[in-house]
Subunit: 231 residues, 2 copies
DNA sequence: TGCCTTGTTTGCGCCAGCGCAAAGACAAGG
DNA sequence: CCTTGTCTTTGCGCTGGCGCAAACAAGGCA
């Protein structure tokens, strides 16, 4: 495998290019533009005309949305191998969210025209894309249901579990969430406030369900969290 | 135009079949099964394997979602010319929501195989479908943002406005929402309770912003509602 | 090493919104 | 016209969660 591909292993895992052979895959990568964004920088802004879609290759992006008063919500995190903004690009509209990096992050970008050509040439991409978008609808609808029907601490539990599943790695005492997560971040992701998150996590730490530090969370008793979330 | 099509005018408006000629359109309709469901009946249940997708031809469907505790949320209303469950069928998964009728409702149903054949034969359908799904993601994300950041009465205002836009008709004193909407329905759609909705609507009625009766709402001052929602 | 910035904790007071309960209003059907 | 069931209103009390304020902790950088 040529050197310029060797560091793109993450792409192999990507659902977008599932079902393509080595040759096709190589072509697809060649048509994209690699880009590295520094920490805490914005890849695209909510409301900007959508020109490119992005596949994360290393680290992750945070998708946020603002309302008129400037209050922020975290829609989701996009990790290695995941795609974002495909939707907006295809439909030729505006980005509905803002994408920003937490740590230095590597992405591959394709513009609308290239994306369309690729989908035309490899129909599998279009079908995979549809599946990805549908999964994302399910996810948002699920969280909409939660925020409408459940109380704050249940939602915090579910949020931690969701983040654990998508970005967790086994560590010493449990499963570490590999995203720098402040209390404010968790609040924005759950639909509550920094204070309530802090109080809740403190309580759970006393119970031995989690261990937490500055922007760092280890789930030590996932089972207890699940039981609590569904209780 | 043959008689069996004359009563399917609603389909003409449908975004799904935009860009097709008369011949193609006729073929598509012929391949679907017309069905009429009585009032207050369920077309499909959340969790059932998805076999068919449906286009509403007359009246409307209500899409709801339940959590583990049995609490209900209204995800959206599907009116004449709108499609639902296309997603689930394509992906061959489970229905993520329950679809039920309020009044007697006419739909056209296609099963997965037919849908796939049609999409293969008329690529425009697939593209239109993508657009529809993307619009729906935007909608859910927008409402997720609202329910996370705004207070109850603002959300009720936005809900009324949304329903007014999608199912409003000019009437004597303002714009009538043509869906039988109980206070409980509005609560389920907004993420609050029947009591709070009742109190809020009473207050707005005194201000002259709306007129309401049993399961019936007329928006008399949309502008005031918009200002309030964004205030 | 010590300063400075950014994140975390916790006490405290407060209020938006919940939810019971009970009464009133409306529609349908005998 | 009355009955029955469903929907709506409103008083009342309560509490989950918000948010200020202030102290504390942890890195980062000079």
């Amino acid at each position: 495998m040529p050197r310029h591909l060797s560091s793109l292993n993450a792409l192999q895992k990507s659902d977008v290019f599932k079902g393509m052979n080595e040759q096709q895959y190589e072509d697809v990568i060649r048509r994209g533009h690699r880009k590295t964004v520094g920490k805490d920088s914005v890849l695209f802004h909510q409301g900007d005309p959508a020109t490119h879609c992005y596949l994360v290759n290393r680290n992750r992006l945070k998708l946020t949305k603002l309302n008129e008063q400037g209050k922020e919500v975290i829609i989701r995190y996009i990790g290695a191998g995941e795609l974002t903004a495909a939707a907006a690009v295809i439909k030729d509209g505006l980005y509905p969210v803002t994408a920003s990096s937490i740590d230095e992050t590597e992405v591959v970008a394709w513009d609308k025209i290239t994306m369309m050509e690729m989908m035309h040439h490899f129909p599998a991409i279009a079908i995979n894309l549809l599946g990805i978008i549908l999964a994302r609808i399910d996810d948002v609808q699920q969280r909409y249901l939660e925020v409408c029907t459940e109380q704050v601490d249940q939602r915090i539990a579910r949020s931690l579990l969701r983040l654990m599943r998508s970005a967790g790695s086994k560590s010493q005492n449990g499963i570490l969430i590999e995203i720098p997560l402040s209390r404010q971040n968790i609040a924005d992701y759950t639909g509550t406030t920094l204070y309530t998150v802090s109080r809740t996590l403190s309580a759970w730490e006393k119970k031995g369900w989690i261990q937490s530090g500055r922007e760092r969370i280890v789930v030590t008793d996932p089972h207890a969290l699940v039981a609590f979330a569904e209780g």
